[in-house]
């Protein structure tokens, strides 16, 4: 027998879920994950307390990579045939190059943002804990899920979750709920 157990609480109300979250934090219990059918700033503030997502660094690096790639592609390929002198105009000319520098900036920034989102959000994630795979969470219910709660904390966690107004608290194999939404 393992010494961890999944615990899942289903909430019908956002404020009850936030109350449960607050009590868990005050009791010093970690290892939970919230789930919601939509992004709510209250949840983000409660969980992350205003710390911004690190995805922005990916965006910055992607954009810088893009602009450098654009400039290098243009200036190196244009300079590769130096015998061509286009009417005395400079071979490497920044004003017209700005356009092809702009496009890879956007492309690089966007693609790195995508990768950054996947890395930090843990996507794709096809091998999920069954406790979190509850169809009600994309419908209209909020949830607090412990994929692996220590067995020793189980009773305390269940007490807090029930006390905060969860409409259903399950643990162990009972957390598995797969009935599709009607």
């Amino acid at each position: 027998m393992s010494d961890t157990i999944p615990v899942k609480a289903v909430y019908a109300h956002l404020d009850s879920m936030l109350a449960g979250l607050d009590r868990l934090k005050k009791a010093g219990i970690s290892g939970w994950s919230t789930t919601a059918p939509l992004p709510r700033h209250e949840i983000e503030e409660a969980v992350y307390e205003g710390r911004p997502s690190p995805v922005r660094w990916w965006t910055l690096v992607g954009a810088i990579t893009g602009i450098c790639t654009g400039l290098l592609l243009e200036s190196l390929s244009m300079s590769d045939w130096p015998m061509i002198n286009p009417g005395g105009k400079p071979v490497v000319a920044l004003p017209p190059f700005a356009i092809v520098m702009f496009e890879p900036t956007v492309l690089g920034g966007a693609m790195f943002t995508l990768i950054g989102m996947f890395v930090h959000a843990g996507l794709p994630s096809f091998f999920l804990d069954k406790a979190i795979a509850d169809p009600r969470f994309t419908d209209d219910k909020f949830g607090i899920v412990f994929p692996r709660a220590p067995v020793s904390d189980k009773d305390k966690i269940i007490e807090i979750l029930k006390g905060s107004g969860a409409i259903e608290v399950t643990s162990g194999a009972d957390t598995h709920y797969e009935v599709p939404n009607a």
Binding site: D15, E42, V55, I84, L123, D140
Partner: protein, 456 residues
């Protein structure tokens, strides 16, 4: 099961009523999926038929060469380029609505942005075919792309045609990714409403999305950055397309007004096409709670604004032709108005400057049938505008000895019609397989269920 009006709550700030429950939004949008009606099958069959006809015309052209198209000296840019610019323009409204209106927190975008984004992706897919058609030898299509100095080519990064390759491919990639990112939480909803194979397919497509705090946090951060990147792209892509013309020293094209003029035209045609698609879609799918007069009214106002900009630009072109005292400019603009293509010019003026005017009346903006009719005029007008620009300037260039009129052949007509079939094929498929309204964002407009109050 569907949301009923008795559960609806009043909207804020003049917005329409909307369902009071998250679950209702799920069911209303998903119920139309996977159950194609006879009408849908008829429309899809029609789309496939026209697409196949276009495909045959292309096959005919590949077999016999570009000579079967009407493009010849002096008009080498015929309706293939007209169609290219037209479809890129159509593709503009989607990203405008999804990105720029997201950044300015315009709430009416929620109901219409998913379908507009789909329209953008399919329109750019359609536009992308035309340079290949125009190329003639389509098997050399890889020559479009800048392999630096391979094949003894000297890549000219000062050419607007090269800029266009970068602009269109970036625009398509970013729009398609933005479309997909927005779909992730909604495809998870479809997964959780289905069983068997569908559940598996949508489970993979949504990348195993579960809406955890970690996923939402990075998703929302990334979404904001995508919107921020897509916003300048909207303005840049059609500016670059306009430089395909404006950078050339051709009378009627060589003008600094082209970028804003083209961007305004693109947004005008795109919003027109959004109305053409969404008015029947919302009616047939009974999505009155989600896409309704409030959205049409706002789309109509966008069209009015951009129609005004276009009218100003048309007028300004004539003013500058007169004011510059450049005889070539004056000749081409006079010829556009009175020459062999005057019918295209006046049709353009009617559709783009006159037909939208009734939308100044609030009653017209709140009448979907009237807006649908006007949106058809907008589509025709914007196609004519591109025809007018592309064909007239090359047919009557500087040397009168080279003048010759251009008229598309049946091959070009066939491909033009086929492009509408290709676009409709994808859009109809989208309407039955993916949520046509962004369910998650609709939920964001619904007050969250609370026990004790305090949240908003």
């Amino acid at each position: 099961m569907s949301a009923t009006n008795d559960t609806a709550v009043p909207g804020l700030n003049g917005e329409p009523n909307r369902p009071s429950l998250y679950g209702a939004a799920n069911r209303d949008i998903i119920r139309v999926l996977f159950k194609p009606s006879a009408l849908w099958f008829f429309a899809w069959a029609l789309a496939i038929a026209t697409m196949s006809w276009g495909g045959y015309c292309w096959y005919y052209q590949i077999t016999w060469g570009l000579g079967v198209a009407g493009i010849t000296n002096p008009t080498f840019w015929g309706v293939y380029i007209v169609n290219f610019v037209f479809w890129v323009g159509i593709g503009h409204a989607g990203t405008l609505i999804s990105a720029i209106l997201y950044l300015v927190r315009s709430r009416w975008r929620t109901g219409v942005y998913r379908a507009s984004e789909a329209m953008t992706v399919f329109a750019v897919m359609t536009a992308g075919i035309f340079p290949m058609l125009h190329l003639g030898r389509v098997w050399q299509v890889y020559w479009f792309f800048p392999y630096p100095n391979q094949r003894q080519l000297w890549m000219n990064f000062k050419s607007p045609l090269m800029w266009d390759v970068f602009a269109i491919s970036t625009y398509f990639t970013v729009s398609a990714v933005f479309f997909y990112i927005g779909l992730i939480p909604d495809m998870a909803i479809v997964r959780d409403h289905s069983t068997g194979l569908l559940k598996k397919i949508y489970g993979v497509a949504c990348l195993g999305w579960r809406g955890t705090n970690r996923q939402w946090r990075h998703f929302m951060a990334a979404y904001g950055f995508f919107a921020a990147f897509a916003a300048p792209l909207v303005l840049s892509v059609h500016s670059v397309v306009s430089w395909d013309f404006a950078m050339a020293n051709t009378a009627g094209w060589h003008s600094t007004i082209f970028p804003p003029y083209f961007v305004a035209g693109a947004i005008y045609s795109g919003c027109g096409m959004v109305m053409t698609l969404l008015i029947p879609m919302s009616y047939l799918f009974k999505w009155g709670d989600y896409v309704n007069n409030w959205h049409y009214n706002n789309l109509a106002k966008m069209c009015l604004l951009t129609s005004g900009i276009l009218t100003y630009a048309y007028g300004m072109e004539y003013f500058i032709a007169w004011y510059s005292q450049n005889p070539y400019e004056q000749a081409i603009f006079w010829w556009r108005m009175t020459g062999d293509y005057a019918w295209a010019f006046w049709l353009m003026v009617f559709c783009n400057c006159v037909a939208p005017l009734p939308m100044y009346w609030s009653k017209v903006r709140h009448n979907p049938a009237a807006l649908f009719v006007i949106s058809i005029f907008i589509n025709i007008g914007m196609w004519m505008e591109r025809f007018n620009i592309v064909v007239s300037s090359t047919a009557h260039s500087f040397d009168p000895a080279t003048w010759a009129n251009y008229w598309p052949t049946w091959t070009e007509f066939g491909v033009t019609v086929g492009a509408f079939g290709w676009f409709s094929f994808w859009f109809l498929l989208f309407s039955k397989t993916l949520p046509g309204v962004a369910i998650t964002e609709i939920k964001e407009m619904i007050a969250p269920p609370v026990k004790g109050g305090g949240a908003h």
